[in-house]
Amino acid sequence: MPTMTIAKALNEGLRAVLDGDPATLLMGEDIGELGGVYRVTEGLKRDFGALRVVDTPLGESGIIGTAIGLALRGYRPVCEIQFDGFVFPGFNQITTQLAKLRTRSDGMLSAPVVIRIPYGGGIGSIEHHSESPEALFAHTAGLRIITPSNPQDAYWMIQQAVTSQDPVIVFEPKRRYWLKGEVDTSTPVSDPFSAHTLRAGTDATVVAYGPLVPVALAAANAAEADGRSIEVIDLRSISPIDFDTVTASVLRTGRLVVAHEAPTFGGIGGEIAARISERAFLSLEAPVIRVGGFHMPYPVARVEEHYLPDIDRILEALDRAFAY
């Protein structure tokens, strides 16, 4: 099995869909000649040409809106948004058009557009380059949202996103683009809309996704040293959420910590906490504890390490859960 980074796995996954389905095309800012600011589309314009790897004019609404039109004509556009903080000019097309097309047409039409968004912090960058806006999309029905945390998932989930009949937003954990791992290119990973239990445990469950998955695993290892057995679930899909897997875990462990980089207030952790509190009410030994960003715009680079949930923040949350 080849070893590759997440960025390379996405690149290979995109290459596979371009190769396999002539209806697919990539579009975005600087994805052609340059190969994207993160080089995720490197070499693809060279190999598939400017009609299938399209450097668009600079307008996010234009990218999403024309992708919808292309999808109506039978194409399968995969749009790149350059950074999380720059998706908002395209928010209207995503929320009022892309998400609703199927319902609007009583199921007659669909626009299986894929939107790739590098997201999250920890890269020491400037404003608008470190955000986690996933909750702003999850609330809107009609969209699916996934986020791979490792090369294997990246390679397959991007392909599964393109195959889905529904529009899918793929949030790519940008600070993990260089994370390496083995990729089995012959056997697809299971349903991209399901959660994966990465580590079994008996005393508490930690749910994380995207960039925080390695952090959650590290925290679980650290807790083990203190004699606590922590189950770690990689959510993988933010809409829908695989509540069955999470509930089953919490029914066993009785404690849940949910971690994400996005601000806690109004974040997707609230949805998980609310639903698991309902589903596992009688089994919960402690309230669901959320670990997330603070209620502030993502802070400047020099202080982001104090903002981002890290191992200690997750351990502290576990402490609080065990205090009950």
Partner: protein, 406 residues
């Protein structure tokens, strides 16, 4: 009521608050060489079939079909039928059978003229007012009422008619039309035996201010997409006159993107058809996009919920009645002997036939269950939707037991 900072009503700065110094070429805006007009208000065919587009004079005569009596009668028929349909729909709304209606009266020339210029392989992206275009695309008129009856957000299968669903978020459909045109381009390259095709994006003078119209034009120009932008400048965006959106004819926008823009007398169905045929051919032949501004007038209210007496003069409305697109073709057909009383009587009968069943059609429209709505959110199974549907069924069943709710 007077402050230190801001002038109040008495101290009005007309210029800032936008006064009458609008640089529009004439209030009707249809009196210059940049505007194509063929059939006059008096019902006479003009002899100049040219207009300036950008710097150049374009000869539209190859696209004018004014010498074909049969064709002119059919244009008139379409305009007449859709106006009658519009009146009937307005009545249905007044009777409480529709939640709302969006009348097109006054815009039949722009809509029938452009719609009839389309070929079957072309694809139209309407706003919410393009009932006339819908007619030319073979959409069943009653189906247009489903949306306003509140039983669907769609109403017809766009793929059957190459006529997209109505889009209510202003300007959003312009980008879809450009993307669709980009798809047509690619199809054509992959299979040159396909008939050349274009898409057409309808939008209004109000919508022209939205960022999405700009991005559509930027993308269309950049990719030389085969798309025609068709702006019906009916001079009003609800209560706001088009002079608030622009001080110059909207057609001039196109030059800024490097493609042709032309204003046409929107109440002249002959000119609208010609200019649209020209524009579509331009687009289909790989020359890129065109912007058409059809200068017309919304003779009725914005919607049945609107009261135009609040914001416009009845004098204006009166003046525009004289410019009615139906009236002038009626005059032309009669005065040239191309249509006789029998034609008009027959047409009236057809209109009656078309509108007769309408009320019943509306009354018999199937009201969906909320359950139906769960089915169209996603194509593939979705656990949350399934869970909520299960809850809803159980919840509804609870009432059935209680006998409270059906």
């Amino acid at each position: 009521m007077n402050g230190s900072r801001l002038p109040t009503a008495e101290f009005e700065a007309e210029d800032v608050a936008r006064g009458p110094d609008v640089d529009e070429a004439g209030s009707s805006g249809t009196d210059d060489a940049d505007t194509l007009h063929i059939l006059s208000e008096q019902g006479e065919l003009g002899s100049t079939l040219t207009a300036r587009v950008g710097g150049e004079v374009v000869d539209f005569s190859p696209y004018v079909r004014a010498d074909d009596a049969e064709h002119l009668r059919s244009l008139y028929s379409d305009m007449y039928l859709i106006r009658r349909f519009d009146q009937e729909s307005t009545a249905l709304q007044r009777q409480g059978q529709l939640a709302l209606w969006v009348p097109l009266t006054g815009q039949e020339g722009a809509q029938i003229g452009s719609g009839r210029a389309l070929q079957p392989q072309d694809y139209a992206f309407p706003t919410y007012r393009e009932h006339g275009v819908a007619l030319t695309r073979g959409v069943e008129p009653a189906d247009l009422l489903r949306l306003f009856r509140g039983v669907t957000n769609g109403g017809w299968d766009p793929r059957e008619h190459n006529f997209h669903l109505y889009t209510l978020v202003l300007a959003a459909q312009c980008l879809h039309a450009v993307g669709y045109a980009m798809g047509l381009q690619r199809d054509q390259l992959a299979d040159p035996s396909l008939p050349p095709a274009a898409s057409i994006a309808y939008f209004g003078d109000g919508a022209s201010s939205e960022g999405d119209v700009h991005e559509s034009m930027v993308f269309a120009a950049s990719f030389k997409a085969p798309v025609v932008f068709f702006c019906q400048n009916n001079q009003w965006a609800i209560s706001v006159p088009s002079t608030v959106q622009t001080r110059v004819p909207l057609a001039q926008r196109a030059a800024g993107y490097g493609f042709p823009g032309i204003r046409v007398d929107g109440n002249d169905v002959v000119a609208v058809e010609a200019v649209t045929r020209w524009a579509l051919e331009h687009a289909r032949s790989g020359e890129g996009p065109v912007l058409i501004e059809a200068y017309t007038y919304r003779m009725s209210a914005h919607t049945t919920a609107d009261d135009p007496t609040k914001y416009r003069l009845s004098e204006d409305e009166r003046q525009w009645r004289a410019r009615d697109p139906l009236l002038r073709l009626d005059t032309h057909l009669r005065s040239t002997g191309q249509a006789d009383d029998a034609f008009f009587e027959d047409l009236d009968a057809r209109a009656r036939a078309m509108t007769t069943g309408l009320r019943e059609a509306v009354l018999s429209m199937r009201v969906p269950d909320l359950e139906d709505r769960f089915a169209s959110v996603y194509a593939d199974p979705h656990p949350l939707v399934q869970e909520e549907l299960a809850f809803f069924r159980e919840y509804q069943a609870g009432f059935a037991d209680d006998g409270q709710v059906s």
